[in-house]
Each structure stands twice: as C-alpha cells, then as structure tokens.
C-alpha cells in the first residue's frame, strides 16, 4: 500500500525489505528509541492509570487490585456531576478560557498591525523587544507582582483605585476573571503578535501599491488588504485554542487563588488537585475521574476542531 503512495519517489524500483532497511539504518531506530521509551513511561503509563477513575483506590492494594467503584464503576463521575462544585468549576473554566481567548487574540492582532505600520525602525524594534519581556517572568513572580501593584494599601495602582473609587481589586471575586485575563494579555501579547507579524510580512506588496494608486487610505488598506491576509491565521489559531478550552493553565490560577476569589477562580484542574493532593482525606479515584472528564472533553474538542480546520482550509494537523 505504502509502496505505491506518493512518498516513495526515490525508492520506487528498488524497494528493500524491512529487514534490509533496518540493517542499513538501525541507527535511526536507535535514535528514536529513547524518546519513544520516555513517552511510553511518562505519557502512556499514566494513561493506563486512568482506570483509577473507575475504581475505589486503596493505597495498600495499588491501582490494579483496588476494587471497582460502585454504580458500574461510574460512582466517581456521578459524584462529580452531582456535586455543587461541578457547575461552578465548569462555569469558571469556560468563562476564563473563552474570555481570555476573545481578548488576547484581537490584542495580538492590533499590536501586530501597529508594529507593521511603525515606520521608525529603531522604535519598532524597541517596542517589540520590550513586548517579549513579560513573557519571561515566572508565574510565581508574576502573581507576586500583581499582588504588590494592586495591594489596596501599598500598591501604586491598587491604592489609587481603592482611595479614588473604593475598588479593592484583589479582594473582589467578580474582578478575578478580568484580572486574570488582562494580566495574561500583558504577559503574552508580545509573543502572541509574532505569528500575525509573520503573516503580515507575507502580504503581497503589489496589492498595497495598487490600492494606493486607486486612492485608498491607510485605514482602507488595513481593512481590505491586511485583515483578509491574516484572517486564515486567526481562524486557525482560534479553532486550535478552542481545543484547549478546558485545559486552562492552572499554575497561574492556583497561584492567584485566595479566600476572596475562590468562588470565581476554582477551575476543574485546581479542584482535581485539591481533592487529592491537598485534602486531608485525599481521594485519588475521584480526582482521576475529574481529570479524565477534562481530558476527554479536550480530546473531543480537538478532534472536532481538527475536522473543522480540515473542512475550512484543507490543512488539519494530522
């Protein structure tokens, strides 16, 4: 089958048997073996571990020997879906990831367009370099900085907002999502813009020249030439991001969480972490069920969106 397909233009005519090929190129297999073994151990072995979700894990019995959970092994899932935390976690997860997707993408595009039309090269380079800078700040330090700046007593912005408008940014749960999303923009917009800058660099200059001759203004050129040129990239980014809707980066959320905002900041992954590794009565099976639910939804979203990408542009990623 493969012998006739397109990828064998060199080998046609003298296709060797696999044994011969292997003898000549065993080094390639020796090279790929270690990474594959690493993946089998650290990525695939835990996949086997998800059967925990259908069991009643007892530390003394191990994964395999622990008894199956009640309700045909679905007890842990039923418990999660009927838990009052479920709706809240799901809502928070979706709100945070959709909100951040909707905000960060336009911001990245606007920054890319702005940079594209900054004529002064030195200025442009400076802005670009500075825009990457926040990306290298660690989650812990970043959250530390947020806490310092928005402190309502000693923080420069926090004290201003508190004294002027009576807004306590850190103590207000309803502001959590905005704080999370806009601080995320601050940190990631420079990096997010790179892909659109590259897309803009690929715009045919003749189109711009033709538009200028036709008397188009700069804004019209941006609207009718540049925007259509970056839409394919934007659509693919949007769809790819949708696959990860539930897999929101929990490290930052966990670090930002406090007593005041927990109602808005508890997401599925932080909840799964808390019922297992933090709780005084750790429930590993329950936590695994929660993670499994999240992974499965993620997998379905990725496969569905991949289909959509395929339909739209003919270039799905598999």
């Amino acid at each position: 089958m493969a012998g006739k397909s397109k990828d064998t233009k060199i080998q046609v005519g003298h296709r060797k048997s696999f044994g011969q090929y292997f003898r000549a190129h065993w080094q390639l297999y020796a090279m790929i073996a270690p990474p594959i073994i690493m993946l089998l151990i650290f990525a695939y072995a835990p996949m086997y571990g998800v059967i925990l979700a259908f069991k009643d894990y007892k530390v003394s019995l191990g994964i395999w020997n622990s008894p199956w959970a009640d309700e045909h092994g679905l007890k842990n899932f039923i418990r999660f879906f009927s838990n009052y935390n479920f709706k809240e976690c799901l809502r928070n997860t979706i709100v945070l990831s959709v909100y951040s997707m909707l905000v960060s993408m336009p911001c990245s595009i606007i920054l890319a367009l702005s940079l594209n039309y900054a004529k002064n090269l030195a200025f442009k380079k400076t802005v670009q370099m500075v825009s990457y800078c926040p990306y290298f700040i660690s989650t812990i330090v970043f959250v530390g900085i947020i806490n310092m700046i928005f402190d309502n007593r000693s923080g420069a912005i926090g004290s201003f907002l508190f004294n002027r408008f009576g807004i306590n940014v850190l103590g207000n749960a309803s502001l959590f999502s905005s704080l999370y999303v806009w601080s995320g923009v601050w940190q990631g917009v420079g990096f997010g813009a790179i892909i659109y800058i590259a897309a803009l660099a690929g715009v045919d200059q003749e189109q711009h020249e033709a538009a200028i001759i036709d008397g188009a203004t700069l804004l019209q050129r941006i609207w009718y030439v540049d925007i259509p040129a970056i839409i394919p990239t934007a659509v693919i980014m949007l769809i790819l991001n949708m696959g990860g809707t539930l897999n929101i980066g929990y490290e930052k959320i966990l670090a930002m969480q406090n007593q005041n905002n927990v109602a808005m900041s508890e997401v599925i992954s932080t909840y799964a972490y808390k019922v297992s590794l933090v709780s005084t009565f750790p429930d590993f099976s329950y936590s695994t069920a929660i993670s499994l639910f999240q992974s499965l939804v993620g997998l379905i979203l990725i496969l569905v969106t991949n289909k959509i990408v395929d339909k739209l542009s003919g270039q799905g990623f598999m």
């Binding site: 080998q11 090929y21 292997f22 080094q27 390639l28 020796a30 090279m31 790929i32 270690p34 990474p35 594959i36 690493m38 993946l39 650290f42 072995a45 835990p46 996949m47 998800v50 925990l52 702005s114 039309y117 900054a118 004529k119 200025f123 400076t126 802005v127 370099m129 800078c133 926040p134 290298f136 660690s138 989650t139 812990i140 330090v141 959250v143 806490n147 000693s154 420069a156 601050w186 990096f191 790179i194 590259a198 203004t217 700069l218 980014m237 929990y250 490290e251 966990l254 670090a255 992954s269 799964a272 297992s276 590794l277 590993f284 936590s287 993670s291 992974s295 993620g298 990623f317 598999m318």
Partner: protein, 293 residues
Amino acid sequence: MKITQDKLVYFINYVLLTVFLIIVLYPIIYIISCSFSSGDALMSGKVKLFPVAVTLQSYRAVFKYQSIWVGYRNSFIYAIVGTVISMVLTLFAAYPLSRDDFRGKKIFTVIILFTMMFSGGLIPTYLLIKNLNLMNTMWAIVLPGAVSAYNVIVARTFFDNTIPKELQEAAEMDGCSDFKFFLKIVIPLSAPIIAVLSLWVIVGLWNSYFAPMIYLDSQEKYPLQLVLRRILLLSQINLNQTSIDPEVIRKNQYLGEMLKYGTIIVSTLPLMIVYPFVQKYFVKGVMIGSVKG
C-alpha cells in the same frame, strides 16, 4: 485629504504604541524602583514611579537570605540537566521523523502526537513517579516533560525544510552512517532551532513550580520558584531574628517587604539577560511551530 488622514493614522499609531510601551514598562520599572526604596516607603505606598529614600538594603537582605541561593543553585542544575536531556531526546526523535525513507514514520508520529491530545492527568502521573521511586529527586522534575510532542514536531519541520535531501543521499553513498550524518551535518546546520527550543525548555524549567511543589519534600532541594512562592505568596519569610521588641519586629516587617522586591529582580534577571540574544530566532521558531505536520 487622504494624505492628512494617513498622517493622522500614523500619528495615532505611534501614540498607541507609546501607550503600549508605557503599560508594559510601568510595572517593571515600578518593581525595580521598589527594590531600591526603603521599607517605610514601601509599606506606606509612597513609591509611584521612582525609588523613594534610595537604599540597597533589599539587595543586602537578598544576599544574606540563604534559601534563595540554595534555590538558585538547584534551579540552575535542574534547568541545565533538564534542557540537555530534553534537547538530546527531542533531536533524536525529530531527525528520523524528518527522513522520507524512514520506515515506521507514521506509527512513531502518531505515538508522539497523541500525547498532545490526551494525558493520564495529575494523579496517575503522581502515582507513577511514586512507584518509580522518583519522589523527592531531581528526576521527578526533569524527566516527565522531557519529550514534548510540540518541540519534536517543530524540530522535525525545521530539519525537513533545511537539510537538503541530496546531501543525505550523497553522504549515504560515501558510506557515512545516519548517526554520523546527524552529528556532523544536521546539528551544525540547526543552530537556530536548537537555540529557540533550548530557550523554551529553559524558561519552562526555570519558571515551573507545580511539579516541584508536589514532588519535592526537602527544602534543600527546592528550586528558586518554590522559595519565591514562600516569600512572595505565602509571606513566610525567615530572617532568623526572633525578638519581642516591637521596634525589631517592625524593622523585620519592613525588611521582609523589601526582600520581596529584591528577590523578584534577582530571580528574573538571568532570563532577562539571555533572551535578547535569542530573540532574533523567535519569529522563526513560532512560524515553524504553527505549520504543523
């Protein structure tokens, strides 16, 4: 009419970018200024843009704070060891996959790509680390994420696009083995992608705190981020000065506050120094990454 409108747009664009520049820079300058200000000025919120009552006390406190330097050393070791392991494995996986003649390419690609879409999750991974006896060791931090499917695909795409097929065929004719070709030809031609991927891995390792938090028990193994977490987020600062004298307590409170700002600067500095050198490869790296196979 048209010209004036365009000029106006260009002007507004510069204003926009300048505002953006200020928004990005302000928090950074603010933190730097705070790190040079006195504890009293910090606690009362007097610092707005420039340092108030300039002092180097916060840096002195940082240099005297033992666990920061232990964390520094640990993070350094984890980042270097982890990056070397990760890069070797990534390049080893990527090169065979970039070869058109490689038999089994499809199966290996699927094995690698599937890990991007589905994972066992927190607890199964945690139990695995426990069963492998990796708890409280460096390996629990550097090994699980060493092979990233995304990085493998990026490296593979790079090889695919930059290593001429004819070169490999010619080398094969001359009796050059695959590994020798990889080492002598492929690697030297791949400096840009190695630089970008290494930077990503280093940043990831240097900045991660979750894996160390759940896998490491002993404090002498804590990487910098966990030490920072105690100082910045949990405010557990140990200045080794116990006293009931309110004056000393107040002074320590000030010192603790100053310490926070000093540690932020000291811990973020290494990456800030490195990234401008690799910056020119960013666009390349991100572009290759977006064109998946």
